[in-house]
């Protein structure tokens, strides 16, 4: 905290970096002198966009988990599996590692991402005492986000590979689309979230260091 207090931020100097080329230039509202991109001190509407994307992700999360993600048509008849149903099927057949991987990637990670983004959104709106932990949470969210596409990849690969005619055919279910939507939306939400808001919130809380006032 003490170190933070000593730091003179770019924003406090009326400077900002270009989103595209990274050039530091004065004042928001002007195009970047180098590449012409409009410049902002913070990502514009970051909070609002993140919240909107999270809501969209949550909206798609329910069909993604309730509807069958793939339909296996074989000799024994057609079988429609939801994500959780597939995890249970793998678990019952003894494929514990696969079950754990799918459960983690397809169920836990999207939930964790959504929850952590909600935590971050809530945190930037009120004074925070632990900006560093929040930043770590944000980084983790961003890193781990792409792995939740595993299930979508599994479905995509299976659908293309397993086309054995009457013996066995796998077709994507409606949940695949919704689930891909959830993953992409959470990734976009994580991207649109500006972690500097965490620190803005932190400095706003400290009386000696009023936040950036343009």
């Amino acid at each position: 905290m003490k170190a933070a207090r000593a730091v003179i931020t770019a924003a406090s100097q009326g400077l900002s970096s270009c989103h595209t080329c990274g050039r530091v230039a004065a004042a928001a509202g002007h195009p970047c002198p180098r590449c012409g991109t409009p410049m902002h001190v913070r990502k514009p509407n970051s909070f609002e966009r993140t919240v909107a994307l999270i809501i969209a992700a949550v909206a798609l999360y329910f069909p993604a988990n309730l509807l069958p993600i793939m339909t296996v048509e074989g000799i024994g008849g057609a079988q429609r599996n939801t994500i959780v149903g597939g995890v249970f099927a793998f678990w019952e057949t003894g494929s514990y590692p696969v079950a754990i991987i799918i459960f983690t990637a397809s169920v836990i990670i999207p939930i964790v991402k959504i929850i952590s983004l909600i935590i971050l959104c809530v945190a930037v709106r009120r004074p925070t005492r632990n900006p560093r932990a929040l930043t770590v949470l944000y980084r983790l969210t961003e890193i781990v986000g792409r792995w939740s596409m595993v299930d979508v990849f599994v479905v995509a690969i299976l659908v293309t590979l397993v086309q054995l005619g009457r013996l066995m055919t796998i077709e994507p279910g409606p949940a695949a689309l919704a689930f891909a939507g959830v993953v992409i939306l959470t990734m976009l939400a994580a991207m649109s979230f500006d972690p500097r808001l965490i620190w803005d919130a932190h400095t706003r809380q400290s009386p000696g260091h009023p936040p950036h006032q343009p």
């Binding site: 003179i8 406090s12 100097q13 009326g14 400077l15 004065a26 004042a27 509202g29 509407n45 609002e48 966009r49 909107a52 994307l53 809501i55 969209a56 992700a57 909206a59 798609l60 329910f62 069909p63 309730l66 509807l67 069958p68 000799i75 024994g76 008849g77 057609a78 079988q79 429609r80 409606p174 949940a175 689309l177 919704a178 939507g181 939306l185």
Partner: protein, 565 residues
């Protein structure tokens, strides 16, 4: 304010006038969650709108049925899937929840039938082999009813005939189950025309009822005069006609079968309607036996043993079957002191009185008349000495004592006479009795006396013969005398003289010639007398008036009766 690190010169000199725009209250970003919500809702809506109607089927067992896997098929087209399988509340059934595709709602009507297709062996065929690999599925046989329902009771066995196949359904009733069952073939002269669909037991009537489906176009073969018989297995019958062995075709031996035909002495009758009921006879013989157009039951009371008289034994009239024995039971005549054996028979009165007025209401009266006036009597007869089977014969016995139709309890009785065997026995006994009653001892005594008399007579005869000896000796002496020896010579002399005498009157003698001439004269005289008598006969008045045209020869006349020319 914080010092700027590199203030832009323009800002320093003259701050640019900020273009002030009112902040948009709602960011366009919010379109994304709206689209996402719409998309999510659409996905959910589409998923559930694809789901068709749900229904519940009750089965005895859920063998081979898996929730989420087992399909519902209609003519091999997938129309739905089993959603859940649960036990019923009373644990007696299984409730199978199914969901059909949304376009298949019309399949769920009241007539729709469901059954589980599993591998099956029986009914002469192996079916459902495909389900060994693919697993069982539920077959849906759509009905035609307009009324929708969502609750069904599944069939445990597949119906032999799907709905919609043209044909007629009839019922066969039988008192014995035998080897017939669902899937058994119904044949007409060896041609398969239908199958037995179900077999059930009617508790009320205690009959087995078979539901039979006759395929189109064979339904016209079944008429009201048709008789059905159990064609299955091997029939061995020892009746009063001897032994009878009959076997159907190999598959009917294995799986059972029913045949039908119009009996030899029957008529085809009217075409039948759906749901007609027929009696199922035990074998082919019985359909020809028991075709009684009208029947009357009579009770026969027999003195003799009825051992060998089976139920359904023949009742014959001079060798022609006119009915059958319904039963032999002491219970028919529930009377104290009754020692005769009651036999209940059923006869067709029209066979006894062919050609007459066949009004059924008058049948009993006609029989009564036959009994009273013509001596109709019932007799037990032995049909086969080998098997000892008896049958009842009705015949006219005019010499029998007069009798009439009586009543005993609720039955009419026909008078009976004892059987031929019994009659022979009777006569034998009578003969023996007579023999026993003969006065043999007395006869023997008399005979002994007679023999004594004969002996005495014989002795007297001997004495008489002794007495005759002396006269015979005298006779011998007479014959031996010389006079007797000379007698032949004298006889010869007498004959010689006689010949000489006869030579005098022989043909060469003069006397003979005279005699011959005299006789010739006599003959001519007689001829003239004859001509005289003829003329007198022709003309009697010639005696008085002389002969007409005297001097002429008399002319012959034609007989008077002929017309003159």
């Amino acid at each position: 304010m914080s010092p700027t690190l590199a203030p832009p010169p323009a800002a320093k000199q003259s701050p640019p006038s900020a273009e002030v725009r009112p902040a948009r209250r709602i960011s366009s970003t919010w379109i994304i969650p709206l689209v996402a919500i719409a998309l999510g809702l659409w996905l959910v809506w589409q998923h559930y709108s694809d789901l068709g109607p749900q229904a519940n089927i009750r089965f005895e067992t859920a063998e081979g049925i898996e929730a989420g896997r087992t399909k519902i098929r209609c003519r091999s087209v997938d129309v739905g899937v089993v959603e859940n399988v649960t036990l019923s509340a009373d644990l007696q059934h299984v409730n199978v929840g199914i969901r059909l595709g949304d376009e298949n709602e019309m399949l769920l009507n009241e007539d729709t039938r469901f059954w589980v297709v599993r591998p099956r062996v029986g009914g002469g065929a192996i079916s459902g082999l495909g389900t060994i690999i693919s697993g069982a599925y539920i077959e849906l046989d759509p009905g035609r009813s307009e009324r929708q329902t969502r609750s069904f009771t599944g069939l445990e066995d597949p119906p032999a005939t799907p709905t919609g196949v043209p044909g007629v359904r009839i019922h066969l009733t039988a008192d014995q189950g035998g080897s017939l069952g669902p899937g058994s073939i119904v044949r007409y002269r060896g041609l398969e025309v239908g199958r037995i669909e179900t077999r059930r037991f009617d508790e009320k009537s205690q009959w087995l009822v078979y539901d039979v489906f006759i395929k189109s176009p064979f339904e016209n073969l079944v008429t009201s005069g048709s008789r059905f018989w159990n064609d299955s297995g091997i029939a061995f019958r020892a009746g009063s006609g001897g032994f009878n062995f009959r076997a159907g075709s190999l598959d009917s031996i294995l799986t059972g079968g029913v045949s039908f035909d119009v009996p030899r002495n029957g008529t085809a009758g009217e075409p039948i309607v759906d749901g007609a009921s027929f009696r199922l006879y035990d074998n082919e013989d019985s359909i020809n036996d028991v075709v009684l157009q009208t029947s009357l039951t009579y009770l026969l009371m027999f003195d003799a043993s009825v051992r060998g008289l089976a139920d359904d034994a023949e009742v014959e009239f001079r060798g022609i079957r006119i009915g059958s024995v319904i039963g032999v039971s002491l219970g028919y005549a529930n009377q104290a002191g009754e020692k005769r054996i009651p036999v209940l028979i059923e006869i067709d009165p029209t066979r006894l009185t062919p050609g007459e007025n066949q009004d059924p209401s008058q049948a009993a009266a006609r029989i009564e008349k036959l009994v009273r006036e013509d001596g109709l009597r019932a007799t037990l007869r032995t049909g086969s000495l080998l098997t000892g089977q008896l049958f009842v014969e009705l015949d006219f016995q005019p010499e029998a004592p007069r009798a009439s139709v009586g009543t005993l309890g609720e039955y009419r009785t026909l008078p009976t006479t004892s059987s031929s065997f019994a009659r022979i026995e009777d006569q034998l006994v009578r003969v023996l009795t007579k023999i026993r009653e003969l006065p043999i001892e007395k006869t023997l005594e008399t005979a002994t006396d007679a023999l004594g008399e004969i002996k005495k007579t014989a002795e007297t005869t001997t004495q008489t013969v002794e007495g005759l000896k002396a006269p015979i000796a005298n006779l011998d002496a007479i014959l031996a005398s010389d006079d007797m020896k000379q007698a032949p010579a004298e006889l010869r002399n007498a004959l010689t003289e006689a010949r000489t005498t006869l030579a005098g009157i022989g043909p060469d003698s003069a006397a003979y010639a005279d005699l011959s001439l005299t006789l010739q004269d006599l003959q001519s005289t007689l001829q003239s007398i004859k001509s005289l008598s003829d003329s007198i006969d022709n003309k009697p008045n010639s005696l008085l008036f002389g002969r007409e045209g005297s001097g002429k020869d008399p002319t012959p006349r034609a007989p008077r009766l002929l017309p003159r020319r």
